[in-house]
């Protein structure tokens, strides 16, 4: 692993709110090597999406910054492809056309028309969605749409793949299937991946490293856990692998003992402390973590 392929240094993110600035992230530092699979885990509203958006260039940090391969990130770009939480496919385009929009934009000059077509189909095959190439997002299931979202991101040949709870809305079976495909694809292409998740098992199974975030406001990296398990990983074999269980235990203990759910948790004094917690109003429907507990 080369040093600091992607580096976040002293990142602070303050949002303007009617009741003054809200410091979501403060002094967050993170180094990620090339080809690493990193999971971000933390309680709802702690600032995971904010971190991802800063790396994507969709949000600008108010202090500190993000450097990718020696260049400061300040605009979004296809080399940092994003898989959004809710697939975000254009509903008026077919599955094929959705991927085509990305491929057209990124490889307009470097690929011939025929090459582009083959490349689009190849990516749809990777996620087993080539059979529905001519369907609209409204005509396929949520899991299928999510796969197309992943295909679209992969088709950009990103050096960093950013995924915001990519499997959050899926049923357990589809989720397991997609996790396996993702592991395979990542092994093959060796992309750097940052994935947000609420699911402890998913984090341990897929990641090389798990970044556990403290509760907001002024959230930062709480613990950084390297997952040293051989690949390819098999979810059934992992179920009674003692090391796997230890990692799992470590994440659970961080989330439910060291960083209890906001309100009960002790908070480190920080700049954002004065904020009322009323602005963290997006907790509904996010009871994933509490449900596991």
């Amino acid at each position: 692993m080369s040093k600091s392929h992607l580096e976040l240094t002293g990142v602070q993110m303050a949002f303007d709110t009617p009741s003054g600035p809200f410091i979501a992230l403060d002094n967050l530092n993170l180094k990620i090597g090339k080809g690493e699979f990193v999971s971000l885990i933390g309680h709802s509203g702690c600032g995971k999406s904010t971190v991802l958006n800063i790396v994507a260039g969709l949000l600008g940090a108010t202090r500190g910054g993000c450097v990718l391969d020696g260049h400061e990130v300040n605009t979004p770009g296809p080399e940092r492809a994003v898989v959004f939480q809710n697939h975000s496919l254009m509903p008026w385009l077919t599955v094929y056309e959705n991927v085509e929009l990305a491929v057209q934009q990124v490889f307009r000059k470097s690929m011939s028309k025929r090459e582009r077509k083959a490349w689009i189909l190849h990516n749809l095959e990777l996620v087993h969605m080539d059979h529905a190439a001519n369907k609209r997002p409204g005509e396929i299931s949520g899991g299928m749409a999510q796969r197309v979202g992943i295909a679209r991101a992969l088709a950009m040949k990103p050096s960093v793949l950013l995924m915001d709870e990519p499997f959050g809305a899926l049923d357990a079976l589809t989720r397991a299937h997609l996790q396996d495909s993702l592991m395979e694809i990542q092994q093959e292409l060796n992309n750097t991946v940052i994935m947000i998740t609420h699911d402890v098992d998913e984090a341990v199974l897929l990641s090389d490293r798990i970044i556990m975030m403290t509760n907001g406001p002024a959230a930062t990296v709480g613990e950084d856990l390297a997952i040293d398990l051989p690949r390819p990983r098999n979810r059934v074999a992992m179920a009674d692998n003692p090391r796997y269980l230890r990692y799992r235990q470590a994440v659970l203990s961080f989330l439910y003992e060291k960083q209890r759910f906001p309100d009960k948790a002790e908070r480190k004094p920080s700049a954002g402390q004065k904020q009322d917690s009323g602005s963290e109003g997006e907790d509904e429907g996010r009871q994933g973590l509490r449900a596991i507990a």
Partner: protein, 331 residues
Amino acid sequence: MSTLSQTDTQTGPGRWLSLMGILFTWQRLASAAQQLLLPLVGILVFLGAWHLAAPQVNTSLGAFPGPADVMEQAGALWQEHQNQRDRAEKYVTMQEERNARILSTNPDAEVRIRAYPGAPTFIDQIGTSLVTVVAGFFLATVIAVPLGIVIGLNRYFNAAMNPLIQIFKPVSPLAWLPLVTMVVSATYVSDDPMFEKSFLTSMITVTLCSLWPTLINTSFGVAAVNPDLVNVSRVLRLSFWTHVRKVVLPSSIPAIFTGLRVSLGIAWMVLIAAEMLSQNPGLGKFVWDEFQNGSSQSLSRIMVAVLAIGFIGFLLDRGMLVVQRKVAWNE
């Protein structure tokens, strides 16, 4: 259902049940019939009530016309149109024959054919109104959609335009008309005008009154584009134009069409009022002329025009719906 109805077919309630079973089997047919039948019943009841009520209403021009009188006048208007057209054709053939004679004696002679100078018939007025409304609505669309997109995309522009839109939106065509008339006669001076001034006045009035719903809906639709899709566009680094073409426009097409349909309805209503007020050719002028004419048939003829206006408005809306089905992805 079928097992239920077979239990006791002999007794009264059983028979009813089996009858209902048949009815349910034919449910789809029945619902189709319903869709045809109920509107028909509605129309018939209306015609009946009209027929009974009309003679009770006495005006200075005699009793209010019933459906039969109106039908008769509709036929008469059509006949007048046919007669007029025959005369016009004869007039033109006469000229052609004369020109042929002149040319046979002198091949270099300059010949002309003049149009028939008769007054426009009811059908001609419908044609004029249709051309005017389509032109005015087209102009409104060409202005409102791009402007709406810009307003929807730019928060600052939106804030700047909003008070103007709120103030101009409720203005009645009657208020615009004198201003438009004066401005058109002052600015549109040409020896060989491409359009009649009256046509321009009506068209611009239609445009001014009908562009607001499209403008407002377009800007709302554009402002409401799913932010995640906007982020996709940013990640892809789509250029401004590609972003508008591939993301903003398709996603606001449903909202735009909702606005267009309201606009077209308004355009049609406004046009009739404008034509009446300004005596510009069209259906509105027909109504006004009949009103001034004050013969015993006038009321029936105005009623024919009223029904024609309503029916054409309905057809315009249907036409818009057909276009929407063709263009919009969510239909």
